[in-house]
């Protein structure tokens, strides 16, 4: 079976020197006195700054903190919070909780999947739209609920969601 290993190029790509985010990461590492048990905190900062954890920054963190590469990668893949792929410019989260599900969230999800060619947990090829699912936002009266970036969309239908999404993505052009 073929397996998409990470390549040496991906891992060893040197981050640009003038990137101020690198300084932020170094500050965080030093704040914890380079203690290896602060790995999760440091990864949090990386994800905050980049939206995901780039491989070459894992190399940077591993070297700076003297934590073995495989340990860094193991931790980053164990926790669902950490993402190894860039998130979309816009993020669409569909509630699949009981109320939303009963009210047809599955149809909404399937419509987005086919129209935008994207699976939950992934981002469209052009990087514009990230699709995610969640279990209940706590506003079941508005079912089915979709959260688009910071907006909460109520009583969504497969018909009106596509237009709303296209408008959102288009606005950014």
């Amino acid at each position: 079976m073929s397996h998409a290993f990470n390549t040496l190029d991906q891992v060893t790509a040197v981050p640009p020197k003038d990137d101020s985010r690198i300084r932020r990461i170094t500050t965080e590492i030093n704040r914890h006195h380079k203690r290896p048990d602060a790995l999760i905190e440091v990864l949090h900062v990386v994800q905050d700054l980049y939206g995901y954890i780039p491989l070459n920054l894992m190399t940077f963190v591993s070297r700076e903190m003297k934590v073995p590469p495989s340990r860094v990668y193991g931790v980053a893949t164990f926790y669902h919070f950490f993402s190894l792929r860039p998130k979309g410019e816009h993020n669409c989260i569909i509630c699949m909780g009981t109320a939303c599900f009963v009210k047809g969230a599955r149809n909404v999800l399937e419509k987005i999947e086919t129209d935008f060619q994207v699976q939950p947990g992934e981002t469209t090829q052009d990087g514009k739209l990230g699709l995610q699912t969640a279990r209940c936002f706590g506003c079941c009266g508005m079912a089915p609920v979709v959260v688009l970036d910071t907006d909460i969309l109520a009583k969504v239908t497969p018909e009106n969601i596509v237009g709303t999404l296209q408008e959102k993505i288009g606005n950014n052009k």
Partner: protein
């Protein structure tokens, strides 16, 4: 320091020290316990669940390798319940990945195979998962086949604790866990691996093997690592 107390193993009273594990005490008492992820010389993680024992006063089955003994503990190591669980655990090992003994390099020299034979596993009651697992032939001397890996983490522990390289670790979680080298890179690309081969020696199955080994002719010696640890202790 010399506080010793007595525990009962399968009805036999034996002497035990305060920091000893149930497994250690059983060994000195000559009681055989089935183990797989356990390797003398490296830390214990209780990953395989084959050394589970019954301790009077607790409902849970406890792994003998990571549980320390307590005074007057009454331990059962070979009840019908335990035998049944052991068999089940072994069957689950076989159903999780793609274990096909007839084409495995470790055939007849495999700890999983031996234990299954010992426990009387003659068929697998659980549906096979048939996961997509890959092989890695990028290292110049060794091979890694994830189809046969049981995630005992012996390789991870040996690499970290004995060799000190920490090339291996585990990524992901649950049934999607995989052993990785560095940042899930091909083993041959690893910048940390010293090619010492200790992981290959301690792997209890056919997941790691030297490229020059012929089918069914693989010989491994995990004791080598145990001995190495003892020798190093004597030096310091």
């Amino acid at each position: 320091m010399s506080t010793k107390y007595s525990v009962t193993i399968d009805g036999k009273t034996v002497e035990a020290g305060p920091k000893q594990t149930i497994l250690d005490v059983c060994k000195t008492a000559g009681v055989d316990i089935m183990t797989l992820c356990y390797l003398e010389g490296v830390s214990n993680v209780g990953a395989c669940r084959l050394c589970l024992v019954e301790v009077e006063g607790t409902q849970k089955l406890l792994p003998a390798c990571t549980t320390t003994v307590a005074p007057n503990q009454k331990i059962q190591t070979n009840t019908d319940k335990l035998k049944q669980y052991r068999k089940m655990t072994l069957e689950l090992f076989f159903s999780e990945r793609n274990h096909i003994c007839s084409v495995c390099v470790a055939n007849n020299n495999c700890q999983l195979q031996n234990l299954a034979r010992e426990a009387g596993v003659d068929h697998i009651r659980f549906p096979y998962i048939f996961p997509e697992a890959h092989t890695d032939a990028s290292h110049k001397e060794f091979m890694m086949d994830h189809n046969r890996c049981i995630l005992c983490t012996r390789c991870v522990r040996v690499c970290d604790e004995v060799e000190g390289a920490h090339t291996w670790d585990v990524m992901g979680r649950g049934y999607q866990s995989r052993i990785i080298s560095d940042f899930d890179q091909p083993w041959g690309d690893s910048s940390t691996c010293t090619s010492c081969g200790k992981c290959v020696e301690v792997c209890p199955v056919g997941a790691l093997w030297p490229k020059d080994a012929m089918l069914g002719h693989l010989k491994k010696s995990p004791e080598m690592v145990t001995e190495l640890v003892h020798k190093r202790k004597h030096r310091s």
